[in-house]
Point group: C2
Chain length 355, copies 2
Amino acid sequence: MSNTYTVAILGATGLVGTYLRELLEVREFPLKELRLLASERSAGERLAFKGEWLTVEAVSEASFKGVDIVLASAGGAISEQWVPIAVKHGAVVIDNTSHFRLKEDVPLVVAGVNDADLEHHKGIVANPNCSTAQLMPVLKALNDAIGLKRVIVSTYQSVSGAGKEAMQELLESSRYYVQQGEVDTDGLMYKEQLPENAKLCFERPMAFNVVPKIDTFSDEDYTKEELKLVYETRKMLHMPNLPISATAVRVPVLVGHSEAVTIDFVRPTSPSEVRQVLERTPNVVTAERSQNFATPRETAGTDPVYVGRIRRDLSNPEAGVCLWVVADNLRIGAALNAVRLAETLVQNSWLGVGV
Amino acid sequence: MSNTYTVAILGATGLVGTYLRELLEVREFPLKELRLLASERSAGERLAFKGEWLTVEAVSEASFKGVDIVLASAGGAISEQWVPIAVKHGAVVIDNTSHFRLKEDVPLVVAGVNDADLEHHKGIVANPNCSTAQLMPVLKALNDAIGLKRVIVSTYQSVSGAGKEAMQELLESSRYYVQQGEVDTDGLMYKEQLPENAKLCFERPMAFNVVPKIDTFSDEDYTKEELKLVYETRKMLHMPNLPISATAVRVPVLVGHSEAVTIDFVRPTSPSEVRQVLERTPNVVTAERSQNFATPRETAGTDPVYVGRIRRDLSNPEAGVCLWVVADNLRIGAALNAVRLAETLVQNSWLGVGV
């Protein structure tokens, strides 16, 4: 096998596709060729890469001939259709959608966390959901060192998780609100202030609001987003019965997911032991004081997972610790992990199906 | 005792003061006279009440002569100074600050929840913190009917909890951001875009951000806001050792606090039992389906506490239930509870010190 690789980005014109292109460039991925694939609608668009203009092509079976790695980020239905075709042509697909994540023979991997799962892939590797991905380095390290007994997560998720249009909707609806709206001090009744025909990504207003529903509802009255966090975490930790629950909430933030995490451990521990474990965990940055923390606006555009507010859980002082975990959901939660997975496959010569 | 009462609002020009005035009017509180008290700076301002203009007076010892009830909402230092003087003059003070809340001989009460605690007041009644107040009807009802074992709360708190200036800061900084800012799709690095000399209520930017710090830090690396929720809940439930912890997070919402609540019960229960209990709880509105919920923008300006997303806790399926609790923090969390406490005192003839 050569030392350079042909990579295709499926969904090249989307938000994560844009990030993938940027990261392949700045991380100097050993490319032979980069193919930008998208729907018929986007075909012909020209996008910059390493000082040249590449033309987006409409995805077809021919697109995958000679491709070593596909980075797929165009939605579950697109992956369902094209990923098996790419694999048939000998490519390894790193899939960013939820479509294959829980399938038994598809490794679900955060690079640097459970790389061993990657080795025996059958041509498809799944990239976990963004809110799960940023939690994994933290939970894995703490499980290995201390042992998890129960995990409760409340999320504060940015709108970029729902794509470019969602970011525009938040910006536009916020602009409309602050221009038209005023603080009605005689009652503070805020009226719906969007134009009637506005096309909306969100069912409820996102400007100056929080909404505890991401994706659609599923089993047990949980949203799919919450269940992804539960099932994907269990799969990656190889703990199918780990007690874990989540409340996933969309907040009016553009980029960066935050999580309030409460962990019960299997034995007595302390915030300082937790801190020591996390300080030696790769890709995790620990606030230097328990009273310090990151916020999404500071961390958007950066690579690490930030852990702050490390403190004793007052409801379980012997064996419980609370954390505040923030990361750029488009990086660790999507594009960065995909590129890191590609790098890991290449470095370990794990390309090719059934190696 | 007459059937009408002289009431003084201490902090009449503030956000909660404005609400208090409105609620005394619309709820037709039996007033003999209303006195509007504030600092020297605001003295002379004229504010509307029942179609008349009342003049704000600078607070002094004379302000409290002949006053039956003081509604105090001007900050802890002001209450520390003036509340004892008001009590000396025979008034009952309903204090909205944190100053007296945890004192042993001061009842801490949510009207309709633990009214019995009100009866033996010594002239001061404390109004709980906003994030605690909206949780109390829910926790009290569930404790009485099923029994609480452990409570974990993550809050999503609006900026109005920090006053009028904080609301203006969020609106202005958001306006600045959407006018100057643009989505930098080549990296989404959001720069700090406020003018350099902007006077700020918040240490970190609030526009398009979330910040896990409300009030200052205190014991065990918890913020005072978080400890208020812990200690005040324990006091009102008469459960000094209730295992309870909180993460209090400020979100870019103008009015309305939301809370993701995980409850372990002392015995097996179900979402439907929890729903049945809450459906018969006064001042609580339960979403008609477990998949439904309120958001702050819909509920701002209304009186009830809204409970939605009532579902089994996947990390404790036998005896755990998760909830999403939303309320207008300026009403149930402040002004409305103060006026309801005044109404309860009057209806039960519990005015006068040491009754």
